[in-house]
Subunit: 433 residues, 2 copies
């Protein structure tokens, strides 16, 4: 197939007419498909069905220290949950606190606490004139909404296949004491699906921040969420807490994980790993904030999995459902517009997303056009702070929730929308030239 | 038995020698008993055992709108949970938001949000020079720790059998715009066990606050936690949200409830009821804070109880376990020191606590003395802001957790500690006089 960029005006007009007809036909079908959020499908939820039999009226509810998990107490998580989630996070159990069902909530609370109480004794951020966060882009919209909510200034940092632009990160972090944090999804990133290289992690661990209360918000949401069984086709991420320790700055990172995409998005368990000094700071706050998180759900998870090997086995079952969907998206994009020079996309080996970059200035219109024909994509711009994509080109594709049949339908429409909007842009550029 | 206050020095010395011997004998038994926290006993936890069979691998996980509760979404609670918790809170489902397992956490977040974002558009409290909360005393230590943590100045308000000193409340609320809240446990209060009268609730509802962002923190933790089946022996609390509406100030109150002492303290569900304007304010925050609370546990609760009648029936089973413990405490106090004129205590008809007032200046020493013989009471002073009981006389008795046998042992020691410390005080006063 010929590149759209090499077509004559007549060829473009003919292609447009042809694709518009296809689009109108699709639109007439009145479909309603959702590719907007990284939601597991019902088939994936059913993988954890047996977990619901683990706690019933016939079992004991005591954790390994003999404490009845139904009652108050054990504020920081039952020991066996710290052990299991520690394995998942590649740290020791004593580096962990187990929370409720949402790691996003831990991140929110971490920012909220820094606003009102500072970080390990530093000045509360609400008393500072300016607080800034670095935001590798494209990134996770919910991260950006937290910092926006607290009036924190967000600075875009380009994100490449091997991680954020570390020269720029270093420049900001080491020279500007108002830079207090950076949002990272280091493995199978949301939305690119790529993983930070060893060098990137080492450069993070060896930062010399200008602010003593600078912290790396390391949201390792997809740590074990591979798409392929073959270890050679899996990404590897260097463990950052250990590297920060080696570099003499163990307090510089907070690690967040959860089982939201292992068991149930609405009823998993979430955890934080950090240095002892950070944990102490957080525990002081938790002792006032709550009587404790749901330890029965912690016990349910621990008894269901037993160990990490079983959790990895469980993740292979997720992969078996997800992999064909990712491959379908990539195959269709490649086959349909691989040579058209109207977009680029990532080819992740794990996680929940594929990131698509259209020609500049087309993303909003593509998403709107797809919506016209009943396909809901993540809002264009959402992957950038303040919802503003400076080049208006990034679209997040979330292939997990629809069935394969629905996904094929949705991708057909999405690709037609890309074609039409791109042709319109090229025609307009031709006129202007 | 003769009042200690009417004894001669010789009689007091003889009584002291006699009680010291009893105390030493008890102490030698090396007991370890805990009457410090309002924890349900294991027998009470077992009342909800069957709830653990409600969700298993064979059931559907859809709420009444057909949504799969295992997945993301339904941020503000599943409809049937709003309905059930609305009934428990005596409000409409649309007045409710359902949260996670801790109502304390909702209260903490409510204060935290007011600090960073204000209340319905008011100035964030962290930008004000002074923020004050009224604290009816004796009260709940965990409330006071929240306001202390945020640097909010706490003002003691005397709490009587029919509620706080409303003249004083009114004076502060209507004249001082820095007074932003009041902590209330309006029914079967912690620790007195008494319930606000209709007049008190009406006076609350008819306050004209000087601050537009003044809110009543109405922690109705023991709303259905009666000790007696006979309605004539149950306390009745006027529903405040309706009264605030009638008085034209629906935004003035936040109501908090939970099933912590209905099902499991560690794994219940908590909820907030408020005006639509307040709910909108809170929802804006929740949309950034979390992806949602554990809806499976909401569904588990709803399916287990079905309706309020079943929940009330369930509470009668709790009462059957708790009532003899409350009666034991009261009977022993009455029999042992009813005439000694060395203390007063409350006689609640519900809730989790009995409040004991010793002679002035004795509480800390009594608690220390009981601890010497292996009985852990709530720390003296805990029922007051900053842990400072100005008269050092209030002790919270929590009879729920020990078995009846343990409770009898603990009370024997506690009463001996009261006797000894009181005699010592009377002897000292005699010398000084």
């Amino acid at each position: 197939m010929k590149s759209y960029r090499k077509m004559t005006r007549e060829e473009l007009l003919a292609e447009k007419a042809h694709r518009q007809k296809q689009f109108d036909a699709k639109k007439a079908e009145g479909l309603k498909l959702d590719m907007s959020r990284g939601k597991p499908s019902t088939a994936q939820l059913n993988l954890s069905r047996q977990m619901m039999n683990v706690l019933n009226s016939e079992v004991y509810y005591n954790d390994e220290t003999g404490t009845d998990v139904r009652n108050y107490g054990i504020l920081f998580g039952i020991p066996e949950a710290k052990y299991l989630m520690g394995k998942m996070s590649e740290v020791e159990p004593e580096d962990m606190i187990i929370f409720g069902n949402s790691s996003l909530n831990i991140m929110f609370d971490t920012v909220a606490r820094s606003m009102t109480h500072g970080v390990c004794g530093s000045t509360p951020w609400c008393r500072l004139d300016k607080v800034k966060f670095l935001c590798p882009v494209p990134g996770y919209d919910r991260h950006f909404r937290i910092t926006e909510f607290f009036g924190i200034e967000m600075i875009n940092i380009p994100l490449y296949q091997d991680g954020p632009d570390m020269d720029l990160v270093q420049k900001y972090v080491e020279n500007d004491p108002s830079v207090k944090g950076i949002w990272c999804v280091p493995k199978y990133a949301n939305p690119t699906g790529y993983t930070y290289s060893e060098e990137t992690v080492l450069r993070f661990a060896n930062l010399h921040p200008a602010a003593e209360d600078f912290r790396i918000y390391w949201d390792n949401a997809y740590s074990i969420h591979h798409l392929y069984d073959d270890p050679k086709k899996q990404d590897y991420l260097l463990e950052i807490l250990r590297e920060c320790r080696k570099a003499g700055r163990p307090d510089m990172v907070y690690k967040f994980i959860s089982t939201s995409k292992v068991t149930f998005p609405g009823a998993g368990i979430a955890a934080l790993a950090a240095s002892q000094r950070n944990l102490k700071d957080i525990k002081k706050y938790m002792q006032v904030q709550t009587i404790g998180h749901d330890k029965m759900n912690q016990l349910r998870h621990v008894r269901y999995f037993g160990n990490m090997a079983n959790m990895h086995e469980h993740m292979r079952r997720h992969a078996a459902i997800l992999r064909p969907k990712f491959e379908l998206v990539e195959t269709m994009l490649e086959r349909e517009i691989g040579d058209a020079e109207i977009g680029e996309w990532t080819k992740p080996r794990g996680g929940y997303f594929i990131s698509f970059d259209s020609m500049d200035g087309c993303a909003k219109e593509i998403v709107a056009r797809a919506a016209e024909a009943g396909v809901k994509m993540t809002e264009a711009g959402a992957t950038f702070p303040y919802g503003r994509d400076p080049r208006d080109r990034n679209i997040r594709i979330a292939p997990s929730y629809p069935t394969e049949t629905e996904l094929r339908e949705a991708m057909e429409i999405f690709i037609l929308a890309i074609r039409l909007v791109s042709i319109e842009k090229l025609l307009k550029e031709g006129q202007e030239a």
